[in-house]
Amino acid sequence: MNLQEAKAEVIETFSMFDDWLDKYEYIIELGKNLPEFPEELKTEDRLIKGCQSRVWLDARREDGKIIFSADSDALITKGIISLLIGVYSGRTPSEVAGDDFAFIERLGLRENLSPTRANGLASMIQTIKKLSSNE
């Protein structure tokens, strides 16, 4: 699945929910299913600033691809970062760095989260972009 297809799939999944709680139930499930994040990677430099909860993000390169892993102490945040990782992990760094991340707006999360939360999401996206544009 290419990047565009992956984004389209997430948008389609979210369009199926007409109840807000169902949407969040789904995000929580994503959070619960996020692969375990090694404790030793929970370092200060992997911590994303600007979130009410704590979020750690790690990026490594493998065969020219960028692989993300992450964790958070809050489940909804964990679900949101899992959703981002699902779309962007395993792509080439230039593909990630060049993306506009606009599909997030279409999920209806950003405008429905409080400003601090929206900033949290913005910080997550910014960090993903930054880690992809290094080198």
Binding site: L21, Y24, E25, I28, D73, A74, I76, R117
Partner: protein, 407 residues
Amino acid sequence: MKLEDFRKEFPQLEQKVYGKPLVYLDNAASSLRPRSVIEKWREMSEIKNANIYRANHFTAVQATSEVESARETVRAFLNAAEPGEIIFTSGDTAALNLLASSFGESFIKEGDEVLLSEAEHHSVIVPWQMLCQRKGAVIRVLPVDDRGELVLDKLPELLGERTKIVCVTHVSNVLGIFNPIEEIIRQAHSRGIPVAIDGAQGIVHSEVDVQALDCDFYAFSGHKIYAAPGTGVLYGKRRWLEKMVPWQGGGEMISSVKWSGTTYADIPFRFEAGTPNFAGIPTLVPAVGTALEVRKESRFQEDRIVEYVSSAFREDRRIRMFGAADGNGRKIPLFSFTVEGAHHEDLSILLDKMGIAVRSGQLCAEPLMDRYGVTGMLRASFGAYNTLQEAEYFIKGLQRAVKMLEQ
């Protein structure tokens, strides 16, 4: 006034959020506004808009008299000795900054001490920290115990020869219990030390008579007690205010300005530099009227909600509430808590989707979060228009949200 009728005065309660009726439980952050306040606010902008004090024209005189009548209303509300002791500010934060800055500049020297409580809001802590840093003065802290009550036994040893002022909250915005300010004032005064009270939450839930209390300063925000945002009050005894240097310079706070120097106006004007919030301040009149109208009925309702929510919390072993409901100080219907296994941020997002507005995070009281060893809390704070049914819906919603987050 009956509480059902009272509720109808608040148009925002007719709103739906996510298709559900709004259950507004963030009153400690800001109250909703009744029609009378909205109407006065509009009237000031629509037909009485003019800068106050400065001009002789019709509208300016009208607007000035609206603001001065608000000053008299607040004076009577607090039972202050005279309107000159009521200073209008942009809010409680500005009032507390004014106090720290002006009192500190006039009375605090290197090595002096300021006594605060461990339960203070950042808007008390930070202005005094800034002042103490400038002056080389020291902050001392009266601790709270595990149940959320101030450790009064420590007070005598903390009130020293270098203590210049005590500044404590009437009711903490996290713990929600009335602090024994009468006793603190008595002990401080016996050593000649003035006491300032942060009344942000206290003024909403009790009668305040500054002369009976004998406090030297009392500060609060208008927007937490139904008035327009951008309004606040610092009450101060004349004998202190007269000796305090102004904290901001500008128009209407002077009596004469020469290149050789400036003399200041009398109180309260010397502390009100610049154009005051003349559209907002007059809303304090209907706001105070609203508060007085339901005081008796709401007190009864508050106690029922406190009893209901705290007993529901006691039944759930995962819930830890901060600020005991059965201690020495009366508890207001403000509940800060954590739930084992569920992050406060997740809970607030899920409750929001059920139409319930609560607050989560550090609640502007990081030292208190550290004291209890938590990264944040969830807070539900009820107002006089909230019903017992809403409290029940909140408890049900909370249980559902906790279940959704179970691993």
